[in-house]
Amino acid sequence: MAIRERLSGNEAISFAIKQVNPDVMPAFPITPSTEIPQYVANYIANGEMDTEFIPVESEHSSMSATIGASAAGARALTATSSCGMALMWEELYVAASNRLPLALCLVNRALSGPININCDHSDSMGARDTGFIQIYAENNQEVYDNFVQAYRISEHKDVRLPIMICQDGFITSHAVENIELLEDDKVKNFVGEYEPENYLLNADQPMAVGPYAVSNYYMETKMAQNTAMRNAKQVILEVGKEYGEISGRTYGFFEEYQLEDAEYAVVIIGSAAGTTKDAIDALREQGKKVGLLKLRVFRPFPDEEIAKALSHCKAVAILDRCESFRGQGGPLGAEVKSAIYDYAKDVAAFNLVYGLGGRDFTVEEAEEIFNDLEAYDKGEKAFAEYRYVGLRGEGYTVMREKK
């Protein structure tokens, strides 16, 4: 029997951490992820878990200590946001290239400047090329579910890569909502014990971690990481299916909402997906065939699967909660368009930017995007691509007419 509860996103992931009871958690506080080490430290102080908590003096150190613990053979994790992740930057690559299956609980927050504590995806999207697996959540339930699945994916012998479990700062991290929790023993049985093959504290098998790789070795190392990332796709699907068997909630690379017969679709990541679903229900009542592809797994990127799921659509809007300064939209737009080019050329695809620095995204704005897609497709109106949703005043946009 699932446990009916109400928790914020930070409480939800902390509860999952307690149930998994990893070996080591070094952490340094930063809004809006600070509550995670706070809750975990409380659980430890109350004797509800026995994770070794290490207060450190910076995020560079928290990731370094997490790497050290993981290399030693421990199941390790940390939590951070925004500039905290930025300070971990070089260590993120070290974790991935050393094939350490540690977990990073990321509460997405805009990067400075201007300084801002609210949600956007610029921190994790900036880290998209570090070699971390990246999994995103729409709500507190998915944050919880994703963390319970995290080590099963990252520690799998075909993967062995670090994993980032992302949620939207404040929007889910600080919002109390209903949630269904699993019993402790169910979680523990599902996650299992960590049995590393190679680790520093194994005296019978001396090894070096993080040595210099000359040009003769570097590229092979990168291909090994890339192979592991490709392998992660199958593992993510298997773990998501098995999780469905114990929870009733099955997970894949993305969720399709009313997408099967949709003519117009939105591709989006995170909490704004729920808002978009309400817009879809309202438009469906007017007889409009609109749908959603909510991306859960951004690394590895399920390019072929995304393109195929969208291939029957007439026009698609890809929404980025991140500016890439490419001059033409954000990273999700670039990658989804690239996938569409390879696998579904007939779909008209547009990229928009929304929600930077916590700018609210509303049901009405989502409805307007669907209506704009339809008006474009019917030749009534050019589509204003690359615009910022909810921007005051004029901004850069490209008007695209249907050919």
Binding site: I117, D168, V176, A272, G274, F361, T362
Partner: protein
């Protein structure tokens, strides 16, 4: 969506508007509802205006935006009436409740022509009488429950008693005062 009750709280940092929104979410959850309780953070510090929100529904809640057309508004600090458009988008069939010593007739001119129901409560008086200190959030919480009827009176007091016993486990001496403040405020607006 419209079997969802939406409530917007206006307060100042440190007055407990966010805590009140979370307590309301808690109590409504305990009565079997789907809930959301969340703050909107500006430059958060003591005294700065803050907004908090509640959605309470029979159905799962998916929307994750702020609330622009609330059914009810709670103003925890009346000085906000001068600087914040508290009735913006407020449902004319709904209501607003304001913490003030003034009468409804005195505050109505500050509400930009809002045609709906207006309630006032002197939360300072209630709080100082029952708690000996100024914590406006408990009285205002009771007021909005009495006005919106998002749960029955019995359910509300039962859940709040449980909630206070949990929240103040280490200082049980304040439980009785808080409950007294809830009752006094509830009856006053009822």
């Amino acid at each position: 969506m419209k079997n969802t009750v939406e409530i917007r709280w206006h307060g100042r940092g440190g007055q407990g508007a966010k805590s009140a929104a979370l307590m309301l979410a808690d109590a409504a959850f305990m009565t079997g509802k789907h809930v959301q309780g969340f703050p909107e953070y500006g430059p958060e510090r003591m005294g700065a205006p803050i907004t908090a929100y509640n959605r309470i529904s029979e159905d799962p809640i998916r929307v994750h935006s702020n609330i622009y057309d609330p059914d009810y508004v709670v103003v925890v600090d009346e000085t906000l009436l001068e600087s914040v458009d508290v009735t913006n988008g407020l449902n004319p069939e709904g209501a607003i409740v304001i913490n003030t010593t003034k009468s409804v007739e005195e505050v109505r001119p500050h509400l930009k022509g809002y045609p709906g129901k207006v309630y006032t409560l002197d939360a300072r008086e209630v709080s100082e009488k029952c708690l000996g200190r100024y914590f406006p959030n408990s009285p205002m919480l009771a007021a909005i429950v009495a006005i919106s009827k998002v749960m029955t009176k019995e359910d509300f007091f039962r859940e709040m008693e449980g909630s206070y016993k949990h929240k103040f486990a280490k200082k049980p001496e304040v439980i009785e005062g808080n409950l007294k403040a809830l009752h006094m405020a509830y009856e006053e607006v009822e």
